[in-house]
Symmetry: C2
Subunit: 447 residues, 2 copies
């Protein structure tokens, strides 16, 4: 992210006025830099830790996986793969009402991703020269679902549903086992309704390596998806250098809220706190034209914090909140485009109009009644989104992430005659006579 082109800097000036959250009422260029440029995490150190794990799995397969599972998950597994019995048993324990919610979310996600199918169009670029693209599923895909405290079954839906819609013929999941060696029923249920083919009880960097290179038990895949801690992210980067495709380089989660005096401070505070809940490294920015809102939101944060006190991250995350006052919404959207947030909430008058000015963002939540939580779970859009400012050039996961678009062309004899001269001339000018020859031998043959 460049800070060179901050043309609007002259408008925003600096002062850091409060100690608890970071409240900017006038922004300097130094402030701006600290707002927009995310802290750099050194990969070298991480890589030094992750590389031996990846290499061990690559060379020793299942034995290495069992070793790391004992070491990191403190679990000794009979089978690395979830058995058919477990797949039936698990979901049957799940609350019917939760099942219904997961099912409805799955249907919404499926509907939105199915609408992304591309219609095949034959373009006759010159008479007798036909060109088209065909969407072909990536045959084998691997989905990483993090473990930890909570079962992230929503991520199962977000990755497996588009994979299913794309028609990937082998969809596998790796997810760390719980302490008792099982996988949470909600993950098994989400996998079942998304038609996942196989599930492995493997977590961390060792799971990424297993899917990248294959082991006796785990099939090698062509593309790896999914969030994870820094070790998982580093392992994805490492295998990516080795030619395995990955979805995105994932960094800490982010929200930027654009709000004016029409916004409800309780809603804004709740959205900031929801983002903060992901971890102390979450980035939560409020950019507002309203000084009154800036103040009210702070009060609401304190108030809501008390009712959410169960989460140990929250208070620490709140200390990193950035609340920024801007002159007008034009400055606000300029700051947002420069920041390129993963999630952007537009809680303003004419939110739809402002949304048309979004240049860089992962997913945008418009109006006062559209919290990010909707997209995280059930609106239908994908929650796997570009972080760390990469929204300037990257999109979130979509149906396309599970497809290749292969181009095809076919020339008739007449078509070759129509285009042949152009190709020959260009090939000669590029000093590639054998390219010209491939056309010439055909034209000469008169076939």
């Amino acid at each position: 992210m460049s800070v060179r082109d901050v043309f609007w800097l002259k408008i925003l000036m600096v002062t850091l006025i409060e100690a608890n959250m970071k409240v900017y009422k006038r922004i300097t260029s130094d402030d701006l830099r600290s707002l927009v440029v995310r802290p750099v995490t050194s990969l070298a150190e991480l890589e030094a830790k992750v590389n031996p794990i990846v290499s061990a799995v690559r060379e020793q397969g299942d034995a290495a996986i069992r070793h790391f599972t004992r070491e990191f998950d403190q679990v000794e597994l009979n089978s690395l793969e979830v058995t058919t019995e477990e797949k039936i048993q698990g979901p049957s324990q799940l609350d019917e009402s939760l099942k219904g919610a997961i099912k409805q979310a799955k249907e919404n996600i499926q509907r939105f991703h199915e609408a992304q199918r591309e219609k095949q169009v034959d373009i006759e670029t010159m008479l007798g020269v036909h060109c088209w693209r065909q969407s072909v599923p990536i045959k084998k895909v691997g989905l990483y679902i993090p473990g930890g405290n909570a079962p992230l079954f929503s991520t199962v839906l977000m990755l497996a549903v588009p994979a299913m819609v794309a028609g990937c013929s082998e969809i596998i999941i790796c997810t760390p086992p719980q302490k008792d060696g099982t996988i949470h029923p909600a993950i098994l249920y989400a996998a079942e309704i998304s038609e996942v083919h196989r599930i492995f009880k493997i977590g961390g960097a060792q799971a990424i390596a297993a899917m990248a290179y294959g082991t006796e038990t785990v099939p090698q895949v062509f593309k790896i998806f999914g969030p994870g801690n820094q070790y998982v992210a580093a392992a994805k980067q490492l295998v990516n250098r080795d030619g395995i495709a990955i979805d995105l380089f994932a960094g800490p989660s982010e929200v930027l809220i654009l709000a004016d005096d029409s916004a409800n401070p309780a809603f804004v505070a709740a959205d900031l706190l929801a983002q903060a809940e992901h971890g102390t490294d979450s980035h939560c920015l409020l950019v507002t034209t309203s000084n009154a809102l800036l103040y009210q939101v702070q009060l609401q944060i304190e108030k809501q914090l008390t009712s959410l006190s169960g989460n140990r991250h929250l208070q620490k995350s709140v200390d990193n909140f950035c609340l920024v006052l801007v002159k007008d919404m034009e400055d606000g959207i300029a700051l947002s485009n420069l920041y390129a947030p993963e999630h952007l909430i537009i809680s303003t008058h004419n939110a739809m109009g402002i949304s048309s000015k979004v240049e860089n963002a992962g997913s945008v939540f418009i109006g006062h009644h559209t919290p990010v939580s909707l997209g995280d779970y059930a609106s239908g859009t994908n929650h796997t989104l570009p972080t760390n400012g990469s929204a300037v050039a990257y999109s979130g996961v979509s149906l396309d992430s599970f497809l290749k678009k292969i181009t095809f062309q076919q020339a008739t004899v007449q078509g070759l005659q129509n285009i042949g001269g152009i190709v020959t001339q260009m090939a000669i000018a590029e000093q590639l006579p054998a390219h010209a020859n491939a056309v010439a031998v055909r034209l000469k043959s008169g076939e």
Copy 2:
């Protein structure tokens, strides 16, 4: 590329029978491995050479660029940027007929890429919950056009035309200067008609670094495209780790030709030789069901070689040709899908039918009258394609490569009521109460 799932191995058996080209009439698993697995190039050594160049440009900007231009291109430049005068002067020297050919190619490419625009569709996933995607251009893109012996103006078209169609607001080119400090008129002409904004006389790893980090003269871009030698490729990998998007990891060019007894040996030989012309590291495979064709193609290669003797690469490349006899076309397409070629030619009976079985390829050329040269220059498809087996998971450059697809959602009050319960329930089950709270505060407020 895994060699694990070579189910059809039992059908193909091994023998290497000739010394000059590699002719396989029965394939062993070892042969198969050597056919399908590309040689690994060690990046570590390259990186050690390229890293100092990238760092120098990052830290010293233009001064470092001038230094490396003197060192590598033996040119001392007044201006790093092509001037307006040069932009007018250059193309005026170009042959009118060549201009016409370039113009027609540009129009074909433009038509094919314009057809890739996605129509925006509003999906109401639940009553009152609206979701859609919007294609937004990547604002600043950098195109690398290699220098060397020939002016690769076709690559200018292949990258700048989709960038123009996408609506990127800053499209820049870096390309090494010729010995006299100028840029070839055909490159300037292709850039002009593709509406490139700025052109810089910079080549090699230093050009990639300049576009990745920006210098006093060269603007920083968000995504870098284009082919190049191994130093350019390594520099692209390095800046990619730093968060700069790139098009593809480019390896040596490849063609696989599927042919049966309907194929014309002269055409097949010409297509193999055209691919070979790119360099001695090109991969050229013929996979055929016809022993007679296998023999005739060898004769044709020898014959055509004599008339193409100007190219010093060719004979050496021919030594690496792989000609493979298979039992039937089913085995042929299985081998092709395993190999995942950048370019696939289908010169068979019912070529269209066989094309529907393609799982992994960059671009496919159907029938006897569609040489790869057409797609290289003018059919309209893009010639920037996945190599090195990456076609299993990657697509070639397309309009999408210059766009981000941003998702949007908007819920009405009624929509939030419809979806709120689902989201709340899922958030609680994932132990994310602040996510549930963001919905709850809104539902409670009754606004």
